[in-house]
Every structure is written in structure tokens, then in C-alpha cells.
Symmetry: C2
Subunit: 411 residues, 2 copies
């Protein structure tokens, strides 16, 4: 029997963190990287670690580590991030950090021995990248995926650079960069996160393992038509790029439905953007993600064929550029199988679901064995105050994380 009240422990931690940066109207929280709110959340984690006798360290990239055991031992890492998007919800990042602390308490309560290993609760710095457009900042720098010089010069909407913001927060920006020694000591990383979708709602499971991160692509399409008088120009004499945009929007949805992809046109720039002129040019950005590269490529090819045909039909010219392309991330198969075996007794039919979002664990996955656990999200909504997990599902997540960590420490 447990000597601690798991629910009270979790709720106490979760509620305290959720109040930091909460909006006055009670709807949503904002903790952008290196702001007062972010620092308050880091202070909160430092306090919670102190209360548990965990040794707190800020690494060269501003990631916050709370050590149970020696810093120079092989380490099992768990955690997530404390920063949020603008007007984010209470779960993204926070759930992983709170569950990690609660799991440490659970392991101690169970009397799980550390042996020669360490366990570290980590809050990665600036995972959202919402202030400087620098997502997975801390893990990206640690693994060398991000270039320090490029990232430090980025500025927020007020013109403050990343470097100045870090310095003001007491972290030396001169120290950021790859941290191979630290990576080399990591035996495994397990990040718990609220699901950013409704797969678990639909399948009736409280938790899932993550199978990997979908590949993604971003394309920029420029459609050139002919500026003209909105009143006097006959319909059949127009070359209106707005109609090609409509084709691109519809085709993205239809082809994504057919191919089982996600596709979004979320950004559109129109020129001259005058209410009484046929537009001369429309630029649109397509974001698409799929379970594998072949599916994503096939989707993009079909979509582009639709857009080209639409441009031809309207007498417009369309030009496509690849803006960015992210490869698929596969989480370590052996680690995944091992965690599946360990968790299956409590979770028969435990699903393995892919995610289309970026995470620190996925960044680390190229270098160390990494895994993710997802907790059911009633709304499926993400990056919004509407994200919502029931307390029983959160506790199931904590227990699953505790089991997973016990498995990894013990082996």
C-alpha cells in the first residue's frame, strides 16, 4: 500500500504550477521563455526539487536538471518543459514535469533502489519557441541540432534578443552549445505529454506510447494572376489568383483526407489586397504531415498537381518552393518494446500512436534511447486553454511513468 496520497500530491503540484502566468480572466496561461512567468515556474521547480532533496543544476543551455543520485552516474531522464505558447493550456509541458516529480515520489514510496544510476527530472528550456520562434531550444542546442550564433541573435516582438533575455534571466548566453558529455551519460529519456489529438478518446485508453514523430513539410506557393478592375473586368477575362487559392485550400483538405495526412493552409498573403481590385498575386503556405515520407511525398505531389491544374484553368502561373522539410523520428524500438511489456499488464492493448508535433524527447531520440507517453486529452485540442485531461487519466499517466522509470532504473 502506498504511504503517499498520489492524487493529492499530483493535484498540489499541478495546481501550483498552473497558477503561474495564468491570465486574469482565468482562461489560459502564458509563460514565454525567459520572462518573469517562466522564471517563476523555474523557481517553483527548484523549490519542489529542494523539498525532495533533489540536487538542482542549470546546464549550459539553460535546461533545468533536478538530480536524484550522482550527476556523474548514468542517468535515466524524465520531464518536459515549463514554458507555454501565448495563451496556452495548463497541461502542455507542465503535465510532464509534474508527473516526473510525482513519479520520483512514487518510486521512493515503492522503495525502488537507484543502484549505480541516477534519475533526473528535466525542464528543457524554451520548448515552445513562442517568443523567439526557437522551438526545442534547449534540447536542440544540447544535441547540436541548433546553431548557437544563429539562435542567440533572434529577437522577440519588442526587439529583445535571445542572448539578452537569457542573460537577464541569469543564464550566460556565451555558454550555449552542444553538450556531448551530458548526452553520453543518458541511458534513456522518457517524456510524458498530454495527447495533442483524440486518438485515446476514440479508442478508450487513458495512456499510450508514442511510436514516433511524423515527417513534415512546409511549401510556399506563389500564384501570379493579372491585376484588374473589379467592376469592369468580365469574369471570363480574368486571371484571378484568388480562385487558385481556393483550389489550393480545398485540395489540401481533400488530398489529406484521402491520404490520411494532415494539411493546413494557415498563412495567405495577397497583393495588392484591395477590395475593388482583382488580385495580382497570392502567396500561400502549406503545412503537411504524414505517417511516413512516401505518404507525405505522394500527398504533396497530388496537391501540387491540383493547384497547377487550377492555375491553368484560371490563366494564372503557380510556382512552388519547399520552405522546410523535417524527417520522421523513430523512437528506439527496443526501448519501446520494453516499456510496452512493462506497461501492458495495467494497460491491455496499450496503443502506440505517432505524433505530428515536435518534442524535446524527439530531438534527443537521434542521440539516445527515447520514449514518450501520452495522456488522454478530452478535447484533443492543443496549444489552447481548451486542452483538458481528467484527473484519473493524469494519475494513470503518473503510474505508467513511474513503472517505466522503475523498469529503466532497475535494468
Amino acid at each position: 500500500m502506498s504511504a503517499i496520497d498520489l492524487e493529492a500530491n499530483f493535484v498540489g503540484l499541478f495546481t501550483a504550477l498552473a497558477q503561474i502566468g495564468r491570465h486574469d480572466n482565468g482562461v489560459g496561461s502564458t509563460r514565454l521563455a525567459w520572462t518573469r512567468e517562466d522564471l517563476a515556474a523555474r523557481a517553483w521547480l527548484t523549490d519542489a526539487a529542494d523539498q525532495r532533496g533533489l540536487d538542482v543544476e542549470v546546464d549550459r543551455n539553460g535546461n533545468l536538471w533536478a538530480w536524484w543520485g550522482a550527476r556523474d552516474a548514468d542517468v535515466v531522464v524524465t520531464g518536459s518543459h515549463l514554458d507555454t505558447v501565448l495563451a496556452g493550456g495548463a497541461y502542455d509541458g507542465a503535465l510532464g514535469v509534474v508527473s516526473a516529480l510525482t513519479a520520483v515520489d512514487g518510486l521512493r514510496d515503492r522503495g525502488t533502489p537507484l543502484g549505480a544510476r541516477s534519475l533526473a527530472v528535466v525542464a528543457f528550456a524554451d520548448e515552445e519557441g513562442a517568443r523567439f520562434n526557437t522551438p526545442t531550444f534547449g534540447s536542440g542546442l544540447m544535441t547540436g541540432r541548433r546553431d548557437p550564433a544563429t539562435v542567440l541573435s533572434r529577437r522577440d516582438g519588442d526587439g529583445v534578443s535571445v542572448g539578452d533575455a537569457m542573460a537577464d534571466a541569469g543564464v550566460d548566453p556565451g555558454g550555449v552549445g552542444p553538450d556531448p558529455q551530458r548526452l553520453a551519460r543518458i541511458r534513456a529519456v522518457v517524456e510524458l505529454h498530454v495527447e495533442q489529438g483524440r486518438h485515446l478518446v476514440d479508442t478508450g485508453h487513458p495512456v499510450a506510447l508514442c511510436s514516433g514523430v511524423w515527417p513534415r513539410g512546409r511549401w510556399r506557393v506563389q500564384i501570379d494572376g493579372e491585376a484588374n478592375h473589379a467592376g469592369t473586368t468580365r469574369l471570363d477575362e480574368r486571371a484571378d489568383p484568388m480562385l487558385v487559392l481556393a483550389t489550393a485550400i480545398y485540395a489540401a483538405r481533400r488530398r489529406a483526407q484521402q491520404g490520411g495526412c494532415r494539411a493546413t493552409i494557415g498563412r495567405v498573403d495577397v497583393s495588392p489586397n484591395g477590395a475593388s481590385s482583382v488580385a495580382s498575386q497570392v502567396t500561400a503556405f502549406l503545412d503537411a504531415r504524414a505517417g511516413d515520407d512516401a505518404t507525405l511525398d505522394a500527398f504533396a505531389e497530388q496537391w501540387w498537381a491540383d493547384v497547377r491544374a487550377g492555375a491553368d484553368a484560371q490563366g494564372c502561373r503557380a510556382r512552388l518552393e519547399v520552405d522546410s522539410r523535417g524527417a520522421a523520428t523513430a523512437f528506439d524500438a527496443e526501448l519501446r518494446a520494453r516499456l510496452h511489456r512493462r506497461l501492458a499488464p495495467r494497460h491491455p492493448g496499450l496503443p502506440a500512436i505517432a505524433t505530428a508535433a515536435g518534442h524535446d524527447a524527439a530531438v534527443l531520440a537521434d542521440h539516445v534511447p527515447a520514449a514518450m507517453l501520452f495522456v488522454r486529452n478530452l478535447t484533443g485540442v492543443s496549444h489552447s486553454p481548451a486542452e483538458q485531461a481528467e484527473i484519473d487519466d493524469c494519475l494513470a499517466g503518473v503510474v505508467a511513468l513511474t513503472d517505466a522509470l522503475e523498469e529503466l532504473i532497475g535494468a
Copy 2:
């Protein structure tokens, strides 16, 4: 037989005016109101009037009048405007002024007596409104349609006000306003203009009479959806206003084709307009014009039903506002019938076509008998260097205008 060479006379005038404000690359001309280029065009007209012994006057609103006959007599007015849009063509406005001067020469060559009447060649000030968003400035002030205080405070992209621009051009902005005495002496106005469409190309006529100006409307539709993560949000869980925009664009074209209207979505504003976010809100402007109010209303109603259905299907909310609504302008039926009778012998089957654009003659039509002549435009394109009329059609226009003026002076 004519003592003057009509073609050489026309070409000389047209070519001289077209060179004022012509772009260095030879494609297009720019003569924005009250700029150096506009003033050079006004000086050119003043010279051309002087050479013809016409008495030049600038009225209180900056319109330029070249009088044949006494200023206090009943007057038949012809002309158009000298200003252009940004990178406009050689015909819009200019063709009407050049044809008016050539028609004066033609009337004198024919020996047409003025009698107790006068004839005035007018260049209305700032018809395009391209610099200050003040279209039909000169005629609008003259008729009281435009409020002087409102219009004088408008500023161009460099922050220069209309008032300062006029003062710098030597026209006292303190004097602008209604000019009822001048209006009261006008027997009729005939404005010749290059066609802004291809009706005459399709029907094989060099010239047409204008039957009236179409009513127009501008609507603003705001579509609210739900901001979400472009990667993690399943397609069937989105409320994406961009898909409703696509419906609005398609429906505008389809319903306009069915109803014989013109409809354009030329301005779109997206929020937050991020490439990796499902948009939360899209605002679009619909410009629509039709032959009569009932047709326009029916079009707008059908379009809005389509948009509402699209919003419902996507789980979005759509809200419609009327941004502006312009009534139809009917040109004087008696004047039109009289000119038709006069021109029909040279132009069997002379078409009467409506225009969907604004003109000074249409502004005056609410106060005095007004008519317009259109000259065939090979491309049908307007407000662009692509507008193009063949010399034979221009000369047919001059002869038609000469006949029309002879008819009106003589009666």
C-alpha cells in the same frame, strides 16, 4: 471634304499627352493628381487650348475648362480627365480629352455655328483618386456629392494632405465645394472613354453609347474558426475558416456567372496568419456589381447562403456586414435616344452598354443630362498599360463625338 487631317491631328495630341509621366521602360504612365506629371498634363491642355483660341479657366474645384464661346452662355460640355492610376495606360481619361479637342477642330472644320451656346472641353480633377483615395474628386465636389472638409484632410502615402497638394499646385483648397451656378448652365455633358471590357470586341462595333452605371456593393464577411496546431489536430476536429474562405471565393464566381454579375474577392486578412497554425479568423471583402439592384441583391443573398452553409459545414461562424452600396446611375434617356438617332446612320446597330466603373459624367448625371461614348478596347483591360485601342476606332470615336456635339450645339 475636310481641310484638316483628322488622324494626324489626333495622333499628334494623343502622343504628346501619352509621353507625360511615361515610365522610363516605356510601359505605362503615372500622373497622380496634383503631382508634377499631372501639372505637366494640365499645362499641355492649356497650351492646346491656347493654340485653338479657347479661353482657359480653372474652376473652384480645380477642374480645367477650355471655353469655345462665352463662359456665361448655356454650355455643352465634353472631356474627361488627365490623371491616371499608378502605372496606368495611355487611353483612360486621356482619350476623352484628346478626342474632345479633336472634335472642336472637327466642328470648326465643318463650320458648325455655336449660335448662342458655348462648348467647353473639361479635364476633371483627380478622377482616379489613386493618390488620396478620392475618385471623381472634381465632379464630386462640384455636385456636392463630396464633402470638402472630409476630402481635404485625406493624405497620400507620404503624409501630404489633399489641401496642401492642391495649394502647391496653385489651386486654393479654401475654394472647393458645390458649384450650382456652373451646373445650372450645363445643357449636356458627353464624355468619351475607352471601353473597360470587351463587349465591343465581341460584337464587332467600334463605338457604343453608355446606358448607365451598374449598382455596386461591398460586403465584409468575418469567419471565425478555432486556432489549433497544424500538426496535431485531426482534420475532422478542425474549425478552419480558410475552408470557408475557399467556399466564399468559389461561390462568388459561380453565383456571379449564373446571375450575370461581376463579383470579386480581392482582399483577405487572416489571423494569426501563421504557417503552422490553423487560422482562427479570416476576413474577406466581396465587391459585386450587376445590371440592376434586384439582380445584385439576389446574387448577394445566394452567395451569403453558400458562405453560411460552408461555415456550418466547417464548424465556423460567419458574420456579414454591408461595407458600402452604390445605387445605379441611369443616363438621361431622352439625350441617349437623341444621340442614338444622330449616330445610327454611321453606326447601324450602335450598342448601348452599361459600365460597372465610376466616371465624372455619371456623377454629373444626377444633375444634368449626361451621356458617354465608349471606344473599343482590344484587350478589354483597364487601369493597366495593356489597355489598347486601334487608331481607326479612336478616329471613329472622334467622329461620333463630333456628331454628338454638333447635334447638341445645334438644337
